[in-house]
Symmetry: C2
Subunit: 417 residues, 2 copies
């Protein structure tokens, strides 16, 4: 690095190795920027398939990628750690382990975590599905509960309650329901599928609210076909270790409650002293710069443009990450930033084997059923970063959906009692 390059300010620090952070780094490759990627894990997680890990369909290793391997190809640096504080005046990021990183441009792409909305017992008695570790814990608890029913000791039934009717909740509910009908016969032949109950609770009047009404009703029908007890317009009042209390006063027994609702900033983010909007998300302008911070950008789920809410999906995060990289290049070249425009390439959600909903090109193309499901399968496999994971996930998902009827097992770990 020559002195002049440093004077121009080419040090970029990216916090978070999710879709947005990796897209930023990828788009900065070869730009002359000196990029350091920071993450609390040494791997990047492919979040859209975590529910497959949680239901024993994929290995944790199928949806995780070495960050160092990625960074190496982009000629950047990786720093394993968590951010403790940001000194915006001194342009320094302080890490929890005492290290510091100087930056000329800072990109915040931490992602978000679950929001319990202050509902009593939710944080203590539910499981979330944002991280690899959470997905493994959920899988081990689900398999432990099935093992308990199969053993004939303790309760002879199992109720799984899923809170939140967005993509994660719908995919999780559909997969658990299908595990019951197709998977139990092979892995837990002792269990009467009728003794396993799946509830999906959604506060609003619709599942998958960002989708077209036709797709929403298709998803609902598919879940009902799989005997999911769907409760719309139903809020949660309280969660205990073995129940969920609904807002109409009904107490539903629950052996395992999955929290797939709400979005909140990571706990430590408040200490960074940046402007926040609802749910603690970072306030950014149209160019994705943090309000009042000309050298700090935010992208992905953690960023919130005031009048332009973006769906919390991979595509907006990838596009925002690319946009941030372009703005940093512009600033390094002495040009002004320009505004971000999200190109809606479409969205999709899967309910089970042969059942998914797909919306492409701003809703101009919509379809459901087997073709949608194959589109989902194909795009998720293609989008998976690494070659090994692509093949491995294809094998495991193919096995799951093709071999279930003839009786294949699930991926199991040490079950939770």
């Amino acid at each position: 690095v020559s002195a002049s390059a440093t004077d121009e300010g080419n040090r970029v620090v990216v916090i978070g190795a999710g879709f947005a952070g990796l897209a930023t780094m990828r788009a900065l490759t070869g730009s002359g920027a000196d990029v350091t990627l920071v993450d609390r894990n040494v791997y990047s997680t492919f979040q859209p398939l975590l529910y497959q890990v949680a239901t024993g369909g994929l290995n944790p290793g199928d949806v995780a990628y070495s960050v160092r391997g990625f960074v190496r190809k982009r000629h950047g640096r990786f720093r394993h750690g968590t951010v403790a504080n940001i000194d915006t005046a001194g342009r320094t990021v302080a890490l929890a382990d005492g290290g510091t990183l100087d930056y000329d441009y800072l990109v915040l792409a931490t992602g978000v975590t679950v929001n319990y909305f202050g509902i009593p017992g939710a944080a203590e008695h539910t499981r979330a599905l944002y991280t690899r570790a959470e997905a493994i814990a959920l899988r081990d608890e689900l398999m432990g509960a099935l093992e308990r029913v199969a053993s004939g000791r303790g309760r002879d039934d199992l109720t799984v309650v899923i809170v939140g009717g967005g993509a994660t909740g719908v995919e999780m509910a559909g997969t658990v329901a299908e595990l019951r009908t197709a998977g139990l016969a092979a892995a837990f032949p002792e269990i009467n599928p009728a003794r396993v109950r799946v509830l999906l609770v959604e506060q609003g009047p619709e599942l998958l609210s960002p989708f077209h009404p036709r797709l929403r009703s298709y998803a609902l029908r598919q879940l009902l076909d799989r005997h999911v007890d769907v409760r719309l317009n139903t809020a949660i009042r309280k969660v205990t270790s073995d129940s969920v209390v609904l807002d109409d006063g009904e107490t539903v027994h629950s052996d395992l409650t999955v929290w797939a609702a709400g979005v909140a900033a990571p706990a430590g983010l408040k200490a960074w002293g940046l402007p926040q909007r609802e749910g603690g998300r970072i306030a950014v302008g149209h160019d994705l710069r943090v309000d009042g911070q000309p050298r700090i950008f935010a992208a992905g789920d953690i960023a919130r443009i005031d009048d332009q809410p973006l769906p919390q999906l991979a595509q907006p995060a990838l596009q925002a990450g690319q946009h941030v990289a372009q703005q940093i290049k512009r600033l390094m070249d002495g040009q002004p930033t320009i505004g971000f425009r999200y190109h809606d390439k479409g969205s999709m959600a899967t309910i089970g084997r042969g059942a998914a909903v797909v919306e492409l090109s701003n809703g101009a193309i919509r379809f459901t059923g087997v073709s949608a499901w194959l589109t989902w399968l194909g795009l998720h496999i293609v989008t998976l970063l690494g070659g090994r994971n692509r093949i491995s996930a294809l094998v495991n998902l193919g096995w799951r959906y093709l071999a279930w009827p003839s009786g294949s097992g699930v991926i199991v770990g040490d079950v939770t009692e």
Copy 2:
């Protein structure tokens, strides 16, 4: 079950879902025996490939199989639990959770665990490689140590000491050494391979002592080629959190010590009140019945015939499990038992890519190198029980050995600091 069948005594309880226990159950299918398989895990582990999990080459799910799925195909029962006690007079197995199982024939196939030979610090400061959980812990610690070196914080070198020059020790040492030369460039480009040191310590004068001298010297040469520091005729005096003290007084710094030596019965086995031989292994006669117990058999690593020691490998365990099943059928038919004869189909060990040793047909056929390695790869894939795991392991191992030079990553989890 008719009254007469019960009177004849057809209840078989098999403790342990390893090679021997599964072979017993498989061979009893259709015999009229009422078989219950007991294991502390809900999965069976393919132990010969655990070192691949420990080095990030395979997913834990690639070497684990749902026991219930297996048991279902054999029309038996599965009981998740651990044995607390055996009442030989009352023919009852007491489980740790308070349950009991009545038996007419009992098969003990628990496998063995590590033996520290009372060496100070060994139990506290080393990692073993007998279980899936141990392999994951070892992987996360190894990757954490590599991450520490790559980060440039703390010590800038890493020493892995492997104790025991049997198949597990040789395979582990070879794979860590190859991870250093071939894998580091991709996953941890910051690490100078010369700063990663691998030591293999063996008390005896030879590695792989059951093999022919030509194969032993091949294995040694392959490890030396991979820059493994092999110490033969070297015993361990003491282990600390960051060192291994050798019997000549030398203290070797060690960041990670792997204990791949010695065989001992599981801790709780002594309480069962059965006759034991060296290492706590259960004393059995030539028909594999426990001394003095006409209705109790032992098979696999846990069984010890007085004058006929068997190698601790998959083949002897599989054959012993089959033999036990045959003897139970003979006893159920009112026939006397017959003695077990081990048919040595051969043994093999792998050092790294394109390097293995294979001995077939009682040593009549011996070969090394690429052909041996392909034989090892083929037989391990074929021997893997489940169809999904067979393909998944083939993909992952194929990827590891074909893509390493061009730079593939490793399977990572939450690293241990």
